[in-house]
């Protein structure tokens, strides 16, 4: 990569962009007066329905973490026609992807590539990263129709969340029983044999303080045609590539108790993990079946506004089911037939969290976590001996048991008016990775329309039990450690326009690397980055631009593969006649270094690309809403990087999807 690429190609545009930021400094103050004016226009019923910032438990937790947080609202999810979690993340700054159009997709945040195990994904605060690998699964198994908002916390957050919260956290918040009460049904149909059905029902009896919500989704798709030449001749003309998803979740409220479950079941082809053309792998009949179940009960004990105690019990299960066909080979000299995999894992946990406010200047949040984890030591496998016959379900694998004790404490102290100091520390003690201390400290300055943060944060990703015994073994393995320095500034330039900039410097030390036949803590990653955001919201129009510059390097080997230095996202939504909404958005990603040279181009990088998407919504016929989503509007041919046998991954061409929603609301 040309070191001056950024300077040559973007410095003038960036200067112009910054100039525009300062020129459009025109409209009045975002003052308390205007808030009161808005509230005074509401009646008591309307006031009762407003969700307040600090009274919400979830928002309160995020607000206490001094970090850059970006939110994708339900409104944005719908008007932009997002079909997957990755679709939504692609439009905010800092994200890059390796979409293999297969059983998983990989998401990289702030220049750190991984197998999805440097980002923690939570649904309503419950971790849903796969227990065995520590990575979350990408794909279509998140029911976005029931998502109230997605909060992305950038940078390390291990002080609150422990292992894997390294590059950031994605917290998916679903609707509560009191939100948009009633029933909603959504139908989806479109290209590549995509079809889906989702529903949700919510009911709250306020006087009894009881309520429940229930939602479900079934979706299936053939993803995209990668057969023959469409897929770079990696697979045959008859290759199979499907994904079937089921998602169910429920919440039950009773006074200060809350219980819930999140169930996700995903079956997909594993064809794209291997090449079938020119190899003995077959590209029909594979089926990767993973099932997640998370259940929880919370109780909040609150005697005054000064303190509360939250108690949680939770159970998590992540199973690669025993009907999984991981791959099929027809190698007469070696493996023949279908290969079955089975990998059950579960975890039981308790968490006690308290929040205490001393006067008006000091607030402390602390917690104790106890977890018991039962992990498969590896995949249990079975072999059919013929590519035409299913294998028997594999036997139960050997289990590894792990106990974890974590204690965390974080305080917020108002040093002087407008300036808040936050400091926190977490202690983890695990059976297999031992003791880890994780500190953080940050200053947050807020005055009128300006907000500034100066942050130092750390995080870790713990090795898994089998990493210590892999090959000849290494009992001295330590967690990978991230250190991050960040300056984040944001300013409301007017009622409608918000600008922000984040400048950060990250380092990950002791990255696990295969050395001879065992793992060692070896590589070091250094990342410098800048994110610039501009958001505009008015009654009928919204628009955004965000730009990210990333310089990510391994200390010993230079530029990090799969990370582009420049990315840009632009989009706008315009409301017409009160019933139509048009959204057009684009993602630009600079060229990326690939793990290997691509035979057809002779280059060791995948090209930069612009891809456009558009969504037209009609919301004006009784309780029905119609939506036409066009992904890859101009049918651009573009590729993602690969660390697998296919040298690069072709991305989906133009796809048309029709969504119809029917809603019956109470009130």
């Amino acid at each position: 990569m040309d070191r001056n690429f950024f300077k040559k190609k973007f410095s003038k545009k960036l200067a112009l962009f910054m100039a525009i930021l300062f020129i459009i400094h025109d409209i009045g103050l975002l003052s308390r007066d205007s808030k009161i004016d808005k509230l005074l226009k509401m009646d008591i019923l309307e006031l009762s329905k407003i969700e307040v910032t600090t009274a919400s438990k979830k928002k309160q937790q995020l607000g206490k973490v001094p970090a850059t947080v970006r939110v994708i609202s339900n409104k944005q999810i719908h008007e932009r026609g997002y079909l997957t979690l990755e679709d939504a993340l692609a439009d905010i700054s800092g994200f890059q992807f390796r979409n293999i159009s297969g059983f998983n997709n990989y998401t990289f945040l702030r220049g750190a590539p991984s197998q999805n195990n440097l980002i923690l994904v939570l649904v309503d605060g419950i971790q849903i990263n796969e227990l065995n690998s520590g990575g979350f699964y990408g794909g279509s198994h998140f029911n976005l129709d029931n998502v109230k908002r997605i909060e992305v916390v950038y940078g390390p957050s291990s002080v609150i969340y422990g292992t894997n919260a390294v590059s950031g956290i994605i917290n998916i918040i679903t609707y509560d029983p009191g939100d948009k009460e009633g029933i909603e049904i959504n139908l989806l149909s479109g290209s590549f044999k995509t079809m889906g059905l989702s529903f949700n029902y919510r009911n709250l009896k306020e006087k009894d303080r009881t309520g429940f919500s229930f939602s479900g989704m079934y979706k299936k798709s053939n993803k995209f045609d990668l057969s023959g030449s469409a897929g770079d001749l990696n697979w045959s003309d008859n290759m199979e590539n499907f994904e079937d998803d089921i998602a169910l979740d429920g919440k039950f409220f009773y006074k200060d108790f809350k219980a819930g479950f999140i169930f996700q079941d995903k079956i997909s082809s594993r064809t794209t993990n291997y090449r079938s053309e020119g190899t003995d792998y077959l590209d029909n009949g594979t089926s990767w079946h993973i099932r997640f179940l998370n259940m929880y009960i919370n109780h909040i004990y609150k005697q005054s506004n000064n303190w509360f105690l939250k108690s949680s019990i939770y159970y998590r299960s992540a199973i690669v089911m025993d009907d999984t066909i991981a791959y099929i080979r027809d190698d007469e000299a070696g493996e023949v037939g279908q290969v079955g995999y089975y990998r059950p894992n579960d975890l039981f946990g308790l968490e006690e969290q308290f929040n205490y406010r001393f006067g008006s200047n000091l607030e402390i949040i602390g917690g104790l976590v106890l977890e018991w984890e039962r992990l498969s030591s590896g995949f249990s496998k079975s072999y059919s001996g013929s590519y035409l016959i299913h294998p028997e379900p594999p036997d139960k694998p050997e289990y590894i048991y792990n106990q974890l004790l974590s204690i965390y404490l974080q305080s917020q102290y108002i040093v002087i008016k407008h300036l808040q100091l936050t400091a926190g520390i977490r202690y983890d003690n695990s059976d297999y990775y031992g003791e880890v201390f994780t500190p953080r400290i940050g200053l947050v300055f807020t005055r009128n329309r300006f907000n500034g943060r100066l942050l130092y944060t750390e995080a870790f990703r713990a090795p898994k039990p089998w990493d210590y015994t892999y090959g000849s073994g290494n009992t001295n393995l330590e967690p990978e450690r991230m250190r991050s320095y960040e300056l984040n500034l944001s300013h409301a330039l007017s009622h409608n326009l918000q600008a922000g900039i984040s400048i950060f410097k990250n380092s990950i030390n002791g990255i696990l690397t295969l050395h001879e036949n065992h793992w060692i803590n070896s590589r070091q990653l250094r990342t410098d980055g800048v994110e610039i955001t501009l958001d505009y919201i008015k009654k009928r129009t919204s628009a955004y631009i965000n730009y990210t510059y990333i310089d990510s390097k391994y200390v010993t080997s230079g530029q990090v593969p799969e990370i582009a230095p420049n990315s840009l996202n632009i989009g706008f939504t315009q409301n017409f006649f009160g019933k139509f909404k048009l959204n057009i958005r684009t993602n630009f990603l600079d060229e990326r270094l690939n793990h290997k040279t691509i035979t057809s181009t002779g280059k060791n990088h995948v090209n930069s690309f612009f891809v456009f998407h558009s969504t037209l919504t009609f919301d004006g016929f009784r309780n029905l809403k119609f939506q036409l989503v066009i992904r890859n509007l101009f049918d651009s041919e573009y590729y993602h990087t690969s660390n697998r046998p296919p040298e690069r991954y072709r991305q989906p061409g133009r796809g048309l999807y029709l969504r119809v929603s029917y809603m019956v609301r109470r009130n």
Binding site: I50, T53, A55, N496, K539, A543, F610
Partner: protein
């Protein structure tokens, strides 16, 4: 070239739309609990009748203890009237300072004095509003509660009647608890 021209077109679009709707209002804002509570207090005045209220020249809201609500109520007092009367906002921090008023808001920090407050006002025609769990049964008329991130209110009809106030049945329907 394609990249550059497309980028310029999109930025132009963005700027066009930002200037097209300069007079619209912003759609989304974050409200704090005190924002909602202060407007609630103002709205409550429409649903109550005070004895001899005709003879009063002003409508007095007293805030007992430190609370951000007092600033917000002053903003409201500049903009609105209650029953065609000017709103007067008073802040007090001790029982000694407590004098007759139409509404008395007892902040969370001052709620430890609630027994003494109620003893002093006895049967004055005052609507007493609190914001701490459990206060409703101690003698308050209205108590704010936090329910799943929303501010709601409970009403003690017995205490309101004892103070000689009349409350509209419409307000009772909107309360989460009525005793």
């Amino acid at each position: 070239m394609f990249i550059r021209s497309t980028g310029i077109v999109l930025i132009s679009f963005f700027l066009l739309f930002t200037t097209m709707n300069a007079k619209d209002n912003s759609e989304k804002e974050n409200f704090l609990p005190e924002d909602i509570k202060s407007v609630f207090i103002y709205n409550f005045t429409r649903f109550f009748d005070w004895p001899d209220e005709q003879s009063d020249q002003t409508f007095t809201i007293t805030i007992f203890g430190k609370s951000k609500i007092s600033k917000l109520l002053r903003v409201i007092a500049e903009k609105r009237k209650v029953k065609r009367k000017q709103i007067i906002i008073k802040n007090i921090f001790s029982i000694k300072e407590l004098k007759s008023c139409n509404i008395l808001f007892v902040s969370a920090s001052a709620s430890k004095h609630i027994k003494a407050i109620l003893k002093k006002i006895n049967e004055w025609p005052v609507l007493v509003i609190g914001e701490k769990k459990g206060l409703l049964r101690m003698g308050l008329g209205i108590n704010f509660v936090d329910m799943d991130g929303r501010i709601r209110f409970e009403i003690n009809k017995t205490n309101i009647n004892r103070a000689g106030l009349k409350v509209s049945s419409q307000l009772l329907k909107l309360a989460v608890v009525v005793i």
